[in-house]
Symmetry: C2
DNA sequence: TACCGCATAGAAAGCGCTTGCTACGGCTGT
DNA sequence: ACAGCCGTAGCAAGCGCTTTCTATGCGGTA
C-alpha cells in the first residue's frame, strides 16, 4: 500500500532507525549512508507518516492560528504574516527541515468555537498556537480559556497572543502583543476635537470585547480631557464589526442626535457603512459630517474621500507573533509588548461647517 | 503526565477498548457503562491523543483548505464558508462526534508552497483537501499537481476544487466547482458596449492563471462579437491582483491610449486602484471614464460611485465545497459544476461623454 | 433442564515512527 | 601492541490508540 519507513530502509539497506535519523537530521550519519537513504526516499516517493511520527516523538509540526473572521482582512493580514514566518524555510524553496504546518482556524467570534478549536489543536499536540484579535470579556469564558491554555502549555504548546491583551492570571502565554487601541482612539478623537467638533457620535463594536472597550475608553478619555464628556450613551451605538451594522447604527445616530458633526466608527469596515449612511441621508463627507475609522485596512485609502483612521501595523505584528511562536525571537520583557497605533489624517475628516 | 485512555479506563473500571468505543460511538456499549466512562472522561479532563488515534485508525480528522491569499476577502469568504460546513456540528455547540479540524493554508499564490502544503497534508493523512482559486497554467506544475493529488486520493483523501477548473487528466478529484468567469466577463463587457463604449482598457490579472485567462477571453469574445476587436494588446496590461497594480496599470493605460472611455479590471481590488488612478488624473467616474470590477466583494458597493462588477457567489460556493469535502452532498454529474456569475450594474459605469 | 444466540466487555496485536542503549570497527595515545 | 574512544549503525521498546477475535453471562426456546 503506502510506503513506510521500513520500505525505505530495506531499499537503502539500512535499519529504519537510520532512515529516521537521516530524515530528522538530529544524529550523525555518514554522508555516504545519508545519500543512499535520500535516494531511496526519492525513488519510492516516501512521505513521512505524520501521526506516527507525532505519536512517537510526542510533538507535532502543527501550528494553529485562531482568528475571529477569516473574511475580514484585519485578520487575514495578521494570519498571512504569521503563517509566512511559520510555514517552513523561506518561500517553500526546499526541504529545509523545520517544515511546520501553519493553519488558520476561523472561530467566527464564537467563544465555543474558540474553545473547540483549542481542544482540537490540543488533540493534535500542536507545537504552537497564535490567538489573534480581541478577547471576550465574559468571566466564565475567560476562566475556561485560562484553564485550556494552561493545559496546552503543559503539553508543550507555545502560546502567543497577537492583538489581544494578556490574560490576567496565566503565565501559560509565551508572549502577548497588544495594540494600543486606547491610545489610538484617543488621538483620533483629539484630532476631531482639534478640528472643532464638539458633538461626536460613536459607532462601537460588539459589547464585551476588549477591543471595543479599549477603543471606546480612548475616545471618552479624549472627550473628558476636552471637557466634552456628557451623555455619551446617547451618541454611542453598539453593533458587530461589519458594514451593515455601521450603516444602520449611523442612521440611528443621525436620527437621534441631529447635531452630531462627526462619526467615529469601531473600525474601517464599519466606517464604510457609516459613510454610506451619511450619504444616503443626503449629507456630504466631510463638509457636513466627518467620518473616521480604525485599522487602516488597505481599502481605506481608496474610500472617497479617503478615510481618516488609525493605522495598526497588522502585518508586522502578525509576523512577529509568528516568530515568537516559533521561538525565533525572544519574547519582550514581561512577555508583553504594546504595539503603537498611528493616526492617519485623511480626507474624511474636516472642520465642522459652522 | 497527560491523561491517557488507560487512565480513563482505570477510573471507569473498564478496559481501554471500551473507552475507545464509547468515544467513537461505533460499537454497542451498555448505557450504564457509557455513562460511567463519560463521567471519567469529564473528571479527568481527558483529551484524545490525535496522532495516536490517527495512527491506529489510519485516518485523521484534518481537512485542509488551500487559498492563494488569505488577506484577500475573495478567498476569506470561500474559506470561511467551507470551514463552517466542515468544522463539526452546528456552531460548535457540543461534542457531536464529527469534529473535524478545518484549517486554511495560505499558498501566497506560489506553486511551490502549494505543493509543500499538499505534502504536509498528505503527511497528516488529511481526510479532505479543498483547493480554491484559479490554477497556474504552467504544464510542469500541473503535472506535479496531478501526481500529488493522485497520491493523496490514493491515501483516501477527498479532494474538491472550488472556483478552479477541473484538472484535465485526473479523476482523483471528487468534484470541481468552477466559476463562469468567461461568461461573467463577457456580459460585463457587453454591458459596456451597450452603453456606447468602443475603446475599452483591460487591466488583467497575472499571466498563466486560469482565472486571468478566462476573464480576458470573455472580454475579448464580447469585443469580437461587437466587431470591436482590434489591437487589444495595446489596451491590455497585466499585473497581480492587487490595488497598486490596478493603480499603476491604469495610469499606464491612460497614458498609452487617451481615447479609452472605460477600464475593466481583473477584480474589485484592482478596480479600486484603477478608480484612484482615474481620479488622480483629474478624470471623473463615470462621466469621463467608466470603471468595472469583478467578484463583487463586500466593499465594492461602498465605493464611490458604487462599482459595477460581476457577482460571484463565493459564500455559497465555499459552503458547497465544504459539504462535498465532507461527503455531505453528492457530487454533480461528471464531478463538475459551473457556477453562474451575475452582472451587477452600478454607478461606476455609464455612457461615455460624447 | 439443556442448548443456542445475542449483547456486551476484554485481551492483545499491531499502526509507523523515534530514541535510549548496545555493538562494532578503526584510530589514537602511550 | 593494547586499551580506550569516537563515530556510526542496529536493536528493540515503546508512544496511545483502534479493532479483531474471543470470552462471558443472560434470556428464551425446545
Amino acid at each position: 500500500m503506502t510506503v513506510t519507513l521500513a520500505d525505505v530502509a530495506a531499499r537503502a539497506r539500512v535499519s529504519p532507525a537510520t532512515v529516521s535519523r537521516v530524515l530528522n537530521g538530529n544524529y550523525p550519519v555518514a554522508s555516504s549512508t545519508r545519500e543512499r537513504v535520500l535516494r531511496a526516499v526519492d525513488e519510492l516517493d516516501y512521505v513521512l507518516n505524520g501521526p506516527a511520527s507525532s505519536l512517537a516523538a510526542a510533538t507535532s509540526d502543527l501550528v494553529g492560528i485562531l482568528v475571529n473572521d477569516i473574511a475580514d482582512p484585519f485578520f487575514g493580514i495578521m494570519a498571512g504574516a504569521a503563517q509566512s514566518e511559520i510555514g517552513g524555510p523561506g518561500d517553500g524553496s526546499g526541504r529545509g527541515g523545520g517544515e511546520k504546518l501553519a493553519v488558520v482556524c476561523n472561530t467566527g467570534g464564537s467563544p465555543e468555537r474558540e474553545l473547540t478549536y483549542l481542544t482540537l489543536l490540543q488533540r493534535q499536540r500542536a507545537a504552537a498556537v497564535v490567538l489573534t484579535g480581541g478577547a471576550l470579556e465574559d468571566p466564565a469564558h475567560q476562566a475556561a480559556m485560562a484553564v485550556k491554555l494552561a493545559r496546552l502549555a503543559d503539553a508543550g504548546t507555545r502560546i502567543v497572543f497577537c492583538g489581544r491583551p494578556p490574560l490576567p492570571d496565566t503565565d501559560a502565554v509565551v508572549a502577548a502583543l497588544a495594540f494600543d487601541n486606547r491610545g489610538g482612539a484617543r488621538r483620533l478623537t483629539e484630532h476631531l476635537i482639534a478640528l472643532g467638533h464638539r458633538r461626536i457620535g460613536y459607532v462601537a463594536g460588539p459589547l464585551e470585547r476588549t477591543t471595543t472597550r479599549h477603543r471606546l475608553e480612548g475616545h471618552r478619555e479624549a472627550m473628558k480631557a476636552a471637557g466634552l464628556y456628557g451623555d455619551e450613551e446617547s451618541v454611542t451605538v453598539h453593533g458587530p464589526y461589519d458594514r451593515s451594522s455601521g450603516y444602520d447604527a449611523t442612521l440611528e445616530l443621525l436620527r437621534r442626535e441631529p447635531e452630531v458633526t462627526a462619526v467615529v466608527a469601531a473600525n474601517d469596515t464599519v466606517a464604510l457603512g457609516a459613510c454610506a449612511a451619511v450619504r444616503d441621508r443626503g449629507l456630504r463627507i466631510p463638509q457636513d459630517i466627518s467620518v473616521a475609522g480604525f485599522d487602516d485596512l488597505p481599502f481605506s485609502v481608496d474610500a472617497v474621500p479617503a478615510l481618516t483612521t488609525v493605522r495598526l501595523p497588522l502585518f508586522e505584528a502578525g509576523a512577529r507573533a509568528g516568530r515568537l511562536a516559533m521561538g525565533k525571537e525572544t519574547p519582550p520583557p514581561g512577555g508583553m509588548a504594546t504595539i503603537a497605533a498611528e493616526l492617519m489624517e485623511r480626507g474624511s475628516t474636516a472642520a465642522p461647517a459652522r
